[in-house]
């Protein structure tokens, strides 16, 4: 700091050197970075670090002491069949996200051609992504309720035999919940894909057309290889989303009727009767590790190509 003060000192005869100017710039550069870095450290890395630390303790949320627990939280998590089995429900969402990516790719490809109303359709597909998760959940809750929209329509159409308790039927309810996720997030994928498709040089298309390639051939042999990076990114995001799915099932079924997910389980453990913050943290760490692992695997696969 004294160095800066010296710079403004009128009695200091020495002219500023170029290196001093550069130093000043660097100082400024770090000064501006300090605040965001500090916030990042305090509100992201420190809690994350503490989460890992807590997972080795036993703590009920009120006791003044946390008891050292070693790997026992992890032992409970992996030995008790009821915890990891809920991971099976993620498969519904995983399958859903693959469907979602495929749909997004096809729609993005179609929308990337200039035609009347293409922007309107972009808006239509993107709109659900802008909706609040709670609003989406409420909307579909009313839609699938026994006296809700869907059953009313079916009754109106005379299809009484098709009427069922949609949200509590085992298996079916998970498929419906996964479809809600598709509906909600497909627009986001479409936008990413369109952006990627439009960055492909038009010369390549022209060349392909000259060679007589049809639309599906263009999609598979030109578009897809060129947007491989974006597909990979979307895949990572989709898998992450599938593993940590929470909002939609929690708000619609509360995790009942076989729709519980890993995060809902963790929430119940951490904040239910007899709260266990340590075990809850262990859940979060395991989830984190899984996502890390999947990301790494996907990174490697993309790099190999």
């Amino acid at each position: 700091m004294s160095r800066i003060a010296n710079l403004n000192c009128p009695t200091c005869a020495k002219p500023q050197k170029l290196s001093q100017l550069k130093a000043q710039r660097i100082l400024l550069f770090f000064a501006f970075l300090t605040v965001p870095l500090f916030l990042l450290l305090v509100f992201t890395y420190l809690p994350a670090f503490n989460m890992i630390r807590y997972s080795f303790y036993r703590w009920d949320g009120t006791s003044p002491e946390m008891t050292w627990f070693g790997w026992k939280n992890y032992e409970i998590l992996f030995r008790n069949p009821q915890y990891l089995t809920v991971m099976a429900n993620c498969l519904y969402y995983l399958a859903g996200s693959l469907v979602q990516l495929f749909l997004a790719l096809v729609v993005a490809f179609i929308l990337s051609f200039k035609f009347r109303g293409s922007n309107f359709f972009k808006g239509v597909f993107f709109f659900p992504y802008l909706l609040n998760g709670v609003a989406v959940a409420l909307m579909f809750l009313f839609f699938f309720e026994p006296q809700g929209t869907l059953n009313t329509i079916l009754r109106f159409l005379g299809a009484e035999s098709a009427i069922t308790l949609w949200l509590i039927k085992p298996g079916l309810n998970n498929i419906l919940l996964a479809s809600i996720s598709i509906w909600r997030y497909v627009g986001f994928n479409i936008v990413l894909f369109i952006a990627a498709i439009q960055s492909i040089s038009s010369e390549i298309y022209e060349a392909a057309e000259v060679d007589g390639a049809n639309r599906s051939q263009i999609l598979w042999f030109i578009v897809l290889p060129n947007i491989k990076m974006i597909v990979g990114l979307n895949l990572i995001l989709a898998v992450k989303g599938a593993i940590s799915v929470f909002e939609v099932p929690f708000l619609i079924t509360g995790g009942d009727w076989g729709t519980s997910t890993f995060v809902i389980k963790a929430l119940n453990i951490t904040f239910g009767a007899n709260p266990q913050y340590g075990l809850g943290s262990a859940f979060a760490v395991v989830l984190f590790a899984m996502i890390l692992l999947i990301s790494a695997v996907q990174k490697l696969m993309i790099r190999e190509d």
């Binding site: 170029l18 290196s19 550069k22 130093a23 660097i26 100082l27 770090f30 300090t34 870095l37 500090f38 450290l41 305090v42 420190l46 303790y57 036993r58 703590w59 009920d60 949320g61 009120t62 006791s63 003044p64 002491e65 946390m66 008891t67 050292w68 026992k72 032992e75 409970i76 030995r79 008790n80 069949p81 009821q82 915890y83 309720e145 026994p146 006296q147 308790l165 949200l167 509590i168 039927k169 085992p170 079924t253 509360g254 995790g255 009942d256 009727w257 076989g258 519980s260 119940n268 904040f271 239910g272 009767a273 007899n274 709260p275 266990q276 075990l279």
Partner: protein, 665 residues
């Protein structure tokens, strides 16, 4: 050269940054996590013993960062007892005596009545009613639970001498905020009067049955007494309160009472105790929100104790109220909020567990005797279902309210009842390797739920039930029965009255349709249908929330005064229809009805010795948290879609519970 300088600069800056951030981290660490080494507390040796092992860290909250002061042991003992009532009684009649215990905030206001013969013969019951059976002298003794007692010598005469006139004796002047005892002098002196009734003629005050006057405002108060029909009055001048006013903040769970009953409580308490200003704060989802408040250190002066605070940690947040030895004589359930012989909370009220049923629905279907076995209950439900098959508005013989989750937890209260053993829940269950095997209390209780679901005796659509609506449908006779603690009875009676009068409003403000079918007399309550091997039906009663005082509160006196007033005088436990907190207060009618049925009531014995904290440990290791609805909910779903047999589910539970026992060691 340039490079060197800039590199040095970067290095210097990075060092500065690191030291800054580590300083920041250190600060965060000291406020949230610190190793205990300085807290010494004479009254709570275990929780705050200096942590020596590196594995133990301590979470400091505001409670300790504001210098842990030495705890003041706030047990206030009874210091004086006065017995009022006639000195002469007529043989063969019943005469009523009252005892007044001072101070009013003593923890042992309950008295035990006894009588000693000095030639005469008489019996006295625990309400102070004396039945004279032979002429002569007797001594009536009222003993407080701390051993303090008062005696009154009474002569039993063979004749009856009527009262001709009475006079009230006592202070002419009283300060607002104080209380004073008044008594009567009768003429003739040897009159054999039986009953003394005190009342307030005019002015703001209240007077109890023993003649203890509590003014509610300054001014003139006229008290009246009626002794077997002969009346008298006395004027008392109440000097207004001019001293300072201190604050008492109270945290409660009854959001529904915030603008009604709690406002009345506030007025009443401040009128009786002008030196305090009481504020209520009601919290939704009390358990979780209050827990967060505890951690933050801002949790009022008097509050309901979140049930997740384990016994070992009570001293950390709450002021000691008294010794378990003394308090357990006067108060129910206190052992559950005690640690190492010191009590940190008093119960607000208690509940029995059982099943609500609509008497008319049962009677109409021809069920005249209450079922006492799960099989009989199922067949009764089946009968009701068949009987109402053609009734359009009928919802279900049994309503589970599964959607709301917590109603499934209401089943858990019956586990102790079925065990019939006060020790079972806290002292046997944590090491019971057959906790869920066939014949175990858990197995029996949840099998009934499974069977009800499997046999289609419940609501058609368990995914969209609603507690408020179920109350209305129940009182209208569209639901036969539902499981709930006895706390629900007064709520249902209230709903029945409102629906009958057409004044019932749902949560969202829409009114329920008026119905003449609603009748409070139809709200019935029965014990869980299980007859123990000895041929008797048992029912456990257990406490609702306990109330405690914040440790290090700045207003200890006000907190004690409020707590004692709230528990004993406010009428809160009557409002809930629950079991009164004080051991000498009689059971409410709903529970008396249980006793009339021959049901044996018992109180659970809290965990002792090695079992302390064991149940919570096994729960968390096994993943079966007994009061969490998740595992009951899954069973319900398996039953609803017939995906698994009950025995398969129960054996899975048992395996998990055993895993919990193994891991807990």
């Amino acid at each position: 050269m340039k490079h060197v300088i800039s590199k040095r600069l970067i290095l210097a800056f990075l060092l500065l940054f690191l030291s800054l951030s580590s300083f920041a981290c250190a600060e965060v660490t000291t406020t949230t996590l610190a190793t205990t080494s300085n807290t010494t507390d004479t009254l709570a040796p275990t929780t705050s013993s200096p942590a020596t092992s590196s594995g133990t860290t301590s979470l400091t909250t505001a409670a300790t960062t504001t210098a842990p002061s030495t705890m003041t042991f706030s047990e206030i003992q009874a210091t004086e007892i006065t017995i009022s009532g006639s000195l002469y009684v007529s043989n063969g009649t019943t005469t009523y005596y009252t005892a007044s215990v001072i101070p009013d905030n003593a923890v042992n206001l309950a008295v035990e009545w006894s009588v000693v013969s000095r030639g005469g013969q008489a019996e006295i019951d625990q309400s102070g009613a004396l039945l004279a059976t032979a002429p002569g002298g007797i001594t009536i003794i009222a003993t407080a639970t701390n051993g303090l007692f008062a005696e009154k010598n009474v002569a039993i005469l063979s004749v009856s001498i009527p009262v001709q006139s009475v006079e009230i004796i006592g202070a002419d002047q009283l300060a607002h905020g104080d209380r004073a005892n008044y008594s009567v002098v009768v003429n003739p002196v040897n009159a054999t009067y039986r009953n003394v009734t005190w009342s307030i003629e005019s002015g703001e005050a209240k007077i109890d049955s023993s003649g203890r006057l509590a003014p509610k405002a300054g001014g003139l108060v006229e008290i009246a007494v009626n002794v077997d029909g002969v009346a008298s009055t006395k004027s008392v001048t109440v000097t207004p309160y001019t001293g300072s006013v201190s604050n008492v903040k109270v945290l409660l769970n009854r959001v529904d009472l915030r603008n009604t009953v709690l406002k009345d409580y506030e007025r009443e308490f401040e009128a009786l105790f002008p030196m305090y200003n009481v504020t209520f704060e009601t919290l939704l989802d009390y358990e979780n929100n209050a827990r967060i408040r505890l951690m933050g250190g801002d949790y009022g002066d008097v509050l309901l104790i979140p049930s997740s605070v384990s016994a070992q940690n009570l001293s950390y947040y709450f002021a000691p109220i008294g010794s378990l030895e003394t308090l357990s004589l006067s108060w129910r359930y206190v052992s559950q909020k005690a640690h190492e012989g010191i009590v940190y909370g008093l119960p607000t009220y208690g509940n029995v567990n059982g099943i609500l049923y609509n008497k008319k629905v049962f009677a109409d279907a021809g069920i005249t005797e209450l079922p006492t076995s799960p099989a009989a209950f199922l067949s009764a439900m089946q009968t009701i279902k068949t009987f109402n098959a053609s009734k359009q508005s009928f919802l279900a013989p049994f309503y589970t309210n599964k959607k709301d989750s917590w109603p499934l937890d209401q089943w858990q209260g019956n586990v102790s009842s079925v065990s019939g053993d006060p020790n079972y829940y806290y002292n046997i269950l944590p090491q019971d390797r057959n906790a869920f095997s066939a014949g175990s209390p858990h197995y029996i209780v949840y099998k009934l739920l499974y069977d009800l679901v499997r046999q289609g005796l419940i609501e058609n659509d368990p995914s969209t039930t609603n507690w408020e609506r179920s109350k209305v449908e129940f009182v209208k006779g569209n639901i036969g029965a539902m499981v709930a603690g006895s706390w629900a009875v007064s709520q249902f009676i209230d709903v029945a009255i409102k629906v009958r009068d057409g004044t019932f409003l749902y949560d969202n403000g829409t009114p329920a349709e008026q119905s003449d079918l609603a009748d409070p007399a139809n709200v019935g309550y029965m014990p869980f249908p299980y007859t123990h091997t000895d041929g008797k039906v048992y029912s456990a009663h257990s406490p609702d929330f306990f109330i405690g005082i914040k440790r290090n509160t700045t207003n200890m006196q006000g907190s004690i005064d409020f707590m004692m007033w709230f528990l004993q005088e406010s009428g809160y436990y009557q409002l809930t229809g629950g079991i009164p907190p004080r051991a000498d207060m009689p059971f409410p009618p709903v529970i008396q009805a249980f006793q009339d049925l021959g049901v044996i009531l018992f109180e659970e014995i809290s965990a002792t010795g090695p079992m302390l904290g064991k149940l919570e440990l096994v729960e968390s290791y096994s993943g079966i948290v007994l009061w969490n609805p998740d595992w009951k909910s899954s069973m319900f779903e398996y039953a609803f879609y017939n995906l698994r047999t009950y025995d398969r589910i129960a054996s899975d539970w048992n395996a998990m519970w055993n895993l919990g026992i193994d891991l807990a060691g």
